[in-house]
Symmetry: C2
Subunit: 245 residues, 2 copies
């Protein structure tokens, strides 16, 4: 259909990078490609903090749950949802500030993800590999302190970028019939489809780990939702001014 | 640098579409491209509801704040954050369900946005135009009822897709120095840069509306944050099982 569609379909996360640096001109192009993504209500609610200091990178790698590629990738940056930049102008124009509603949180978080994903596609189009680092939300307070993030700004995820030094398989996704519905939400037939998919995922993990018992998709996601995942997030966000009103 | 980067940089929202339909095979490819995007903890927390029924499209166009292209675009779909699909397996495996933390909300919402943005890039690569419809959050309850969304699923945004019947200008983005920071969050120099940018945006609107007083970026975003934006969202989400614990 298009080479871009082939590119998008070939995505896999890269966790091992060569030493090759990313040219500053290319990096600028990646940022520009990301910035061109849609932004809700024209908010432009993303701030990217590019982290180059090696000690800081090591520290964040540790805070993100010991992910060494955070320190080793050619580039590492943290994508922040930013309501401060716009909020500054409420004060300047003597308007009341009401930007702490759940809706504002959604707008800013979605803005960040759209921009990041366009930047990622741009990167992959020139042969770079990427890995999103949600693990920075393990320790959002210390990470924010390292980046000197003010009130109104929170770190959504990190992103590693670099030239790949590995060639992992593409991880199979849920069959489309489970993901795309017509007219209404409807789970008919999904259970059987997901059972078959679970087998594929078990095989995928068995192949990758060279044997042993593969874990299924349903086991993984049921575990995710059976855990009080990062229970500090709400308190952290409230402190940063995201009040979920 | 790459034709993909040029493609990404050429994005603008399309709000007027030709009557040309999107071939089913192409539509499937777009979904597949979207699905290949990264997904946090392998959750795959997106469900897309494709709406084809004309009366339903009209109704949603109205609920989204009278956006006629919702009814008129070749395709319209609603991207939902879905914790139900995974949550079903907590029950199946007799695990406790704890998937109502703020963190789970973030994971699912980011998943949706990443998938949508890859789908959008795929669409734009074959000459389609798109428009995100955050306006469905004006009336998330009635929209959810129309789509029969169960607990654990919420509509994040809609997406119009079709062949463009207009050729709008690219809307200038904030200068990169305001968006991308090195090592720490730092607003040095931003105020002056934003002042100049405000002038560009005023010009952009003056040109588009054929004269008259253009509104600046800072005026727009200060207004957004001075309003209790969609104050129903929190209550709606809680009812749908997103508890922000």
């Amino acid at each position: 259909m298009s080479s871009v569609i082939d590119l998008l379909k070939s995505h896999r996360s890269i966790r091992k990078f060569s030493d090759q640096a990313i040219e500053p001109e290319l990096l600028e192009e990646l940022f520009a490609a990301g910035q061109a993504a849609a932004t809700s209500s024209f908010l432009q609610g993303t701030t990217i903090i590019r982290v180059t200091n090696p000690e800081k990178r090591e520290k964040i790698a540790e805070l993100a749950g010991n992910q060494p590629y955070v320190a080793k990738a050619a580039e590492f940056m943290i994508f922040c949802a930013d309501l401060k930049r716009a909020g500054n102008y409420c004060e300047a124009y003597e308007m009341p500030f009401e930007g702490d509603f759940t809706e504002h949180f959604i707008i800013a978080t979605v803005d960040v993800a759209l921009m990041a994903q366009s930047l990622v596609t741009a990167a992959e189009s020139v042969g770079l590999g990427i890995c999103y680092i949600g693990g920075i939300r393990n320790n959002p307070g210390p990470v924010s302190d390292l980046l000197e993030l003010p009130r109104g700004v929170y770190p959504v995820f990190g992103l590693c970028l670099g030239y790949p030094d590995q060639d992992p398989e593409i991880k199979p996704r849920l069959p489309m019939s489970v993901i795309v519905k017509k007219e209404v939400y409807n789970e008919e037939g999904d259970q059987e489809t997901i059972e078959q998919y679970d087998e594929r995922i078990r095989d995928y993990y068995r192949t990758r780990t060279g044997g042993g018992h593969g874990i299924s998709w349903t086991e993984q996601v049921a575990t995710l939702l059976s855990e009080k995942s990062r229970p500090h997030m709400k308190g952290f966000l409230e402190e940063k001014g995201f009040k979920f009103k």
